[in-house]
């Protein structure tokens, strides 16, 4: 049975997702000791060549799979510590993962999820066809996350985090991803039923509802991946010292920061620009 990691990266004019995927893929490959493949588009590949990171990409990725760039009107407000801006968010094709993965068992991760330990390696052989990140796990504590970080809406179902998804390439997983696609294509109708805001497509919501439906319209304890330890986008990646990442954590959302450091644990860094600022040090970790 082949195992591997899959990352999607479609650049926009503000965020270099390809570079993030190279860092994320390199760390995952190093710490989980399995191959990594990238799903991207021609213009992102062209950008990688132009910005001289394509050689890193070919070193790290076993396969670079190019697909059509998904058309999307998704916009998202991305913070970089105290500042922020609206950026296009091209992320609507995750439902293709089951068809495109070259592996029998795949760990699908976001390009801003950094594997710094081998703990997800314990999950490869778990006899469950699709597992999602169980919840968000704020690096500070629960006080910064609210009900809508744990549920798709005020009256909706439990929110899983599609930052990490592990699946087997089989008919059950195919059904799951087809359901995600169906929810994506009928997003407004599902928003009426599950009472979430449909203005921006979110994978977390589509994946959570697909899981809810396929689990028999109920919350189950079938099994999931660990909660996703996350530094929010108001937090700032401040430094990379050896294997330790240091953060400034905006613990009250009032621009009052405290320090934190992590090593040997996987982390989701939502402040993408602060990752880019430390690209050299992060690339050296690979």
């Amino acid at each position: 049975m082949t195992r591997g990691i899959l990352i999607y990266a479609h650049n926009n004019r503000t965020v270099d997702y390809a570079l993030m995927a190279i860092i994320s893929g390199g760390l995952a490959k190093k710490n989980l000791q399995v191959p990594v493949s990238l799903i991207t588009d021609i213009s992102t590949v062209e950008w990688m060549k132009e910005s001289n990171i394509f050689n890193h990409a070919t070193d790290i990725f076993e396969h670079i799979i190019t697909v059509d760039r998904p058309a999307t009107a998704n916009q998202r407000h991305l913070n970089d510590g105290q500042t922020g801006q609206m950026v296009p968010f091209i992320n609507t094709n995750r439902n293709t993962a089951c068809d495109l993965t070259p592996y029998d068992r795949t760990l699908l991760i976001d390009s801003d999820f950094f594997v710094l330990s081998n703990s997800l390696g314990e999950y490869w052989d778990i006899d469950i066809d699709v597992m999602l990140g169980d919840a968000i796990n704020d690096i500070y504590n629960d006080s910064r996350t609210g009900y809508l970080d744990r549920h798709v809406s005020d009256t909706g179902v439990k929110m899983y985090w599609a930052t990490t998804v592990m699946f087997s390439k089989n008919s059950n997983a195919k059904l799951f991803f087809d359901t995600v696609n169906y929810i994506k294509e009928n997003y407004s109708q599902f928003a009426d039923v599950f009472r979430f805001d449909p203005r921006q497509f979110r994978n977390d919501i589509a994946f959570s509802i697909a899981k809810h439906i396929l689990d028999g319209y109920r919350q189950t304890d079938i099994g999931s991946l660990p909660p996703v330890l996350s530094a929010l986008d108001k937090d700032i990646l401040h430094g990379v010292n050896g294997n330790t990442l240091t953060f400034l954590v905006d613990y009250k959302f009032t621009n009052s920061y405290c320090a934190a450091a992590i090593s040997d644990i996987d982390v989701h860094i939502m402040n993408k620009q602060s990752v880019i600022r430390h690209k050299q040090a992060l690339l050296e970790l690979i």
């Binding site: 330990s117 052989d125 006899d127 504590n141 954590v249 405290c258 320090a259 934190a260 996987d266």
Partner: protein, 116 residues
């Protein structure tokens, strides 16, 4: 007064970092005490260690079915080997926990806390 306030604010800042470091360490240890075996997932804790040790003491050492964290039945062919693995991981990880926790506890400044 200003100095007292500054000292209080510095201490408050230190406490924030201290609690994050403690939390992150605990998360790391929890992850390391998670053990994937034969299609199941086990949390290595006192319950599991005691139960497995008790089964071994009763002579039930082969073909034992255990329920994993998802309540799925998992067949353990050689329970003594399984117990060895559990104990080895448990002591390795809890010793690491102890060492790291002592380092955090003894770090009396933010700089020292984040350099652990």
């Amino acid at each position: 007064m200003d100095q007292q306030l500054k000292a209080a604010l510095d201490f408050s800042n230190y406490q924030q970092t201290f609690s994050i470091q403690k939390k992150v360490l605990k998360e790391r240890i929890t992850a390391k005490l998670t053990y994937g075996f034969n299609g199941g997932l086990f949390r290595i804790d006192r319950n599991l260690l005691t139960f497995v040790d008790m089964l071994c003491a009763k002579g039930r050492t082969s073909g034992v079915v255990l329920l994993d964290v998802n309540e799925n039945p998992i067949l353990v062919d050689d329970l003594e080997a399984f117990r060895e693995e559990l104990f080895q991981r448990y002591f390795e990880v809890t010793n690491e926990y102890f060492d790291q926790y002592q380092k955090i506890k003894k770090s009396r400044s933010v700089e020292k806390l984040i350099s652990q």
